[in-house]
């Protein structure tokens, strides 16, 4: 897609050559973006990662098997038992449809790739696309050079990589591409003011809506920008063309997606756009009048028009407010609210708070995820402000808002990453412009510069190349990117300079008076900075983000040790239990259980029904008998717990247990968090509270654990467990994996005979009251 603008840009042979070069670099960037994400496949295996991707994978399988209509109407009875879940109406189909289409095309070409393979490689492919989109966007903002820089930065930015390594088959993988591309088209429309791009813009917005709840970010950001432009008096009819059709089309198309449906007009995430829609019309009208009237008449006109316009606005606002008031939760879904008010989630919605990626990020995580870009961004902002165009102002706005959001939710670092890349791309290219240009002016001869500029690059790149050698073979095709990127860019620079000097304003000149040494040193420093960034990214790709959380490895003195317990347990369930058996576990494992073990689960990672989850949480934190009664009333046959105590796997159910208590207690007040804490702290050793020691979760986790080493030392909590020897009366162990990481228990049948003291073990449906009641399926857009 990049070719036409590139080649159209230049008419002269030289620019054509530059265009081809740029095209080539872009292609290489794509390859880089794709290949750097294959560490996971090479180091581990071609497998779906983590939790949500398994659901997406399962949905994709269903789609490829039964076709689009079946998928649209899919009522899944294997999850959220007994409520079931309408998959077609509650899932963002973009990702699934994309992968499904790719698979279909491949198979119609008789290339028998499995659905799994396609799913695994969807994310890398789209990250390449995202890099290209970044190029286009930045190019619209600031010339080709900036575009290329931004593209390569994004191709390897860790925070995006963390979500799009091969196998992490999640919405964000495609959504980020859609996001950037939508922004690109918006800017494009803004610059050209052609309806054609406006339509494309709407369509790509539609794709974004299909693929991620984050689309609300777009539909709020763009109006903000429009408003900004109007306020800054930069209104132009191009702005109108860019915005008005987008709103209409966008709303219509968004309403077509089952998940969004009428929310596109009902919920207040979207109202901002309508408001601005009205405002822009007023403004447009005003300017139109001004256009056809003589100034003095306009003076008169303006008063009337304004009064009318204001009246309209007021009316509109009134309507909107009314609508907001009428719509549920004031029209804002939980996660969006927790965006505006960071403390909201922790206060009201423990489920959202319980997910680690909804926590506010820490500073190290910033450094981890965007590394040196964090320092380049301010420079970029400055660069954007001289001279300020609509496009650059938009980018700045984008950056600012995304910084705020990322501050609220760690997960939204993802949205920040592109902005940061664009900014620092601009900054870097500007810097190179200035420096190389000054170098060039200093040296009278034009021919000498490229070489020594070139060899400084080469030196630096070789430096990093042998740094990089330690990592595995993936990198060496990277290093040559690193080699050629700066050199090529510098070559591009000095040809851009030609039009820059023509195009750009005078102040550029003043900047250029830098001594030769200073500038060359500066160039060197920048290159070093970039190389640091590259090394960090490669490390992140290879070590930090490539592990698929279902199979764990640990390096001990006797080589690599693999912990494949999860799949062991799931495949046991798959082959040795009845097809209709229900498996209860904490919701983290719901998606994996349905996908890998193909068994019905009670709750899963799509946490749409708080009560249901609370029921399971209650069961897990109750003593055996009530727990048995709850599970029995849900027809549960097996209970699955994850236990890391033997091998020291930290994220096991005991560590998540407090959330179960909180969520359970949130709905069923007889579960009180303090009962599980010994003077405020959470412990499972001898000091633990009896409530804790009698809770089902404790018992199922530590059943017969003491017999392994005689004293029951928990390697995660680094203590001996409190209650060591106990029997299970209502559950029996049916399977425990090799490293005890997953333990599966079976509910015993009710007692055959009643002893004197027995009460009726009929389910007292108290803890369940209202599980079915609240049908407020929270279709939270940020899932």
């Amino acid at each position: 897609m990049a070719s036409p603008p590139d080649l159209k840009s230049g008419a002269t042979l030289r620019n054509a050559f530059g265009g081809v070069l740029a095209l080539f670099i872009i292609f290489l960037i794509g390859v880089l973006a794709f290949s750097i994400r294959l560490f996971s496949v090479i180091k581990y295996e071609s497998v779906i990662h983590e939790f949500d991707p398994y659901f997406n994978y399962r949905v994709t399988q269903f789609l490829t098997k039964n076709g689009i209509y079946e998928f649209w109407n899919w009522f899944d009875d294997r999850t959220w038992y007994p409520l079931g879940r309408v998959i077609g109406g509650t899932v963002y189909p973009g990702l699934t449809l994309t992968a499904g289409t790719m698979w279909w095309i491949l198979n119609s070409l008789n290339i028998p790739l499995s659905v799994k393979t396609v799913c695994v490689f969807t994310a890398p492919i789209f990250s390449a696309a995202a890099a290209w989109a970044t190029y286009l966007l930045t190019k619209e903002v600031r010339g080709t050079g900036a575009g290329l820089t931004a593209a390569i930065l994004l191709a390897i930015v860790p925070s995006y990589m963390s979500r799009s390594v091969a196998g992490s088959y999640d919405n964000e993988a495609v959504a980020i591409f859609a996001l950037i591309f939508t922004f690109f088209l918006y800017i494009k429309t803004l610059n050209t003011g052609s309806l054609f791009y406006a339509t494309l813009n709407a369509l790509s917005y539609f794709y974004m809506v299909c693929s991620w709840g984050g689309y609300t970010f777009i539909i709020n950001l763009i109006p903000m920008h429009v408003l900004l432009c109007i306020v800054m008096g930069r209104y132009s009819s191009r702005l109108y063309i860019a915005y008005a059709p987008l709103v209409v089309f966008g709303t219509l198309l968004a309403a077509l997606v089952p998940v969004v449906g009428f929310n596109a007009v009902m919920t207040s995430e979207h109202f901002a756009s309508f408001l601005v829609f009205i405002i822009i019309h007023v403004v447009a009208f005003v300017s139109f009048i001004r256009g056809i009237l003589s100034p003095k008449m306009f003076k008169v006109a303006i008063t009337l028009v304004l009064t009318v316009g204001i009246a309209v606005c007021v009316g509109a606002i009134a309507i909107l407010v009314a609508l907001v008031a009428s719509s549920p939760t004031k029209g804002w879904s939980g996660r969006s609210l927790s965006l505006l008010d960071p403390t909201y989630a922790s206060k009201y919605i423990p489920i959202i708070a319980s997910v680690s990626e909804h926590q506010p990020p820490t500073w190290p995580s910033y450094f981890m995820d965007i590394n040196v870009l964090a320092f380049l961004v301010p420079a970029g902002i400055i660069a954007c402000f001289l001279p300020l165009s609509d496009a650059s102002s938009f980018v700045v706005l984008y950056l600012v808002t995304s910084v705020y959001f990322s501050g609220v939710m760690v997960r939204l670092m993802l949205v920040l990453a592109p902005a940061a890349c664009i900014m620092s791309g601009i900054a870097l290219s500007e810097a190179f412009d200035v420096l190389t240009q000054s170098v060039k002016l200093q040296l009278t001869k034009l021919l000498e510069t490229p070489p020594n500029a070139g060899d400084t690059k080469d030196g630096s790149s070789t430096v990093q190349s042998d740094v990089v050698e330690e990592d595995n073979k993936m990198i060496d095709n990277k290093t040559e990117f690193v080699k050629e990127r700066p050199s090529k860019k510098s070559r591009k620079k000095d040809k851009e300079i030609v039009e820059k000097t023509r195009s750009k304003s005078r102040n550029q000149k003043r900047l250029m008076i830098l001594p030769l040494e200073a500038s060359s040193v500066a160039i060197l420093l920048i290159v070093v900075l970039i190389s640091l960034y590259v090394i960090h990214c490669v490390w992140a790709a290879a070590e930090a983000y490539s592990a698929p959380s279902i199979v764990l490895t640990s390096r001990s003195q006797d080589g690599l040790h693999v912990f494949d317990d999860f799949r062991e347990a799931y495949s046991w369930l798959r082959h040795n239990t009845e097809v209709d058996d229900k498996v209860a576990s904490w919701w983290d494992y719901g998606y994996q259980t349905t996908a890998m073990a193909n068994r019905t689960v009670i709750v899963d990672n799509n946490t749409w029904n708080n009560t249901h989850i609370a029921t399971v949480g209650t069961a897990m934190s109750s003593p055996e008998k009530p727990a048995w009664e709850i599970f029995n009333s849900l027809d549960v046959k097996y209970v699955l717990v994850v236990f890391g105590g033997l091998v020291g796997y930290p994220s096991d159910d005991i560590n998540k247990f407090l959330w179960m208590v909180r969520i359970g207690g949130g709905v069923f007040p007889h579960i009180k968090e303090p009962d599980y804490l010994r003077d405020g702290q959470y412990r499972i050793d001898a000091q633990a509270t009896p409530t804790m020691l009698n809770s089902l979760m404790y018992k199922l986790s530590y059943y017969r654990f003491v017999e392994t080493d005689g004293k029951g030392f928990d390697r995660v909590r680094k203590t001996e467990i409190g209650k060591k020897h106990f029997k299970l009366s209502h559950f029996e162990e049916v399977f425990t994996t090799h490293h005890w990481m997953v333990r599966i228990y079976k509910l015993k049948p009710p007692k055959n005979r009643m002893k004197e003291k027995l009460k009726k073990p009929k389910m007292t449906s108290k803890p369940l009251s209202g599980t079915r009641r609240d049908e407020s399926a929270k279709r939270n857009p940020w899932q």
């Binding site: 406006a198 109108y240 063309i241 059709p245 219509l252 056809i292």
Partner: protein
């Protein structure tokens, strides 16, 4: 005061008309079209007020189709307007082609959403 404003209004209207008279016919046609679309939209809103928004999707599509048409028409008007400095390079044929394309897309979506 009121008087002066009214006279202002009168003069304003007059000058408006005169100014508008200058506009080329094709723009006039467009304006007519816009007016028609907006009128339909208003009618629907009123009807909705009376009957209630039961088939909400139909209402939306009906309304938005009108609004969309209007907006697109306005865009077209902006583009083909000779006075408009911004669109010198954009040929009116091209603009109209885009306009047609947009409308096709719009009505496609509308048809899809109506049922």
């Amino acid at each position: 005061m009121a008087k002066s404003s009214s006279t202002d209004a009168v003069t304003l209207i007059r000058s408006l008309r005169s100014a508008y008279a200058a506009t080329p016919t094709n723009l006039k046609i467009i304006d007519l079209y816009v007016v028609f679309a907006i009128a339909t939209a208003l009618i629907q809103v009123v009807y909705m007020g009376i009957v209630g928004s039961f088939p909400f999707n139909s209402f939306l599509s009906g309304l938005l189709s009108c609004v969309g048409t209007a907006v697109l028409a306005v865009c077209l008007r902006i583009q083909v307007n000779k006075e408009n400095k911004e669109f010198k390079d954009l040929a009116p044929e091209r603009a109209f082609a885009d306009f047609v394309l947009c409308n096709l897309v719009l009505h496609l979506v509308i048809m899809n959403f109506l049922g």
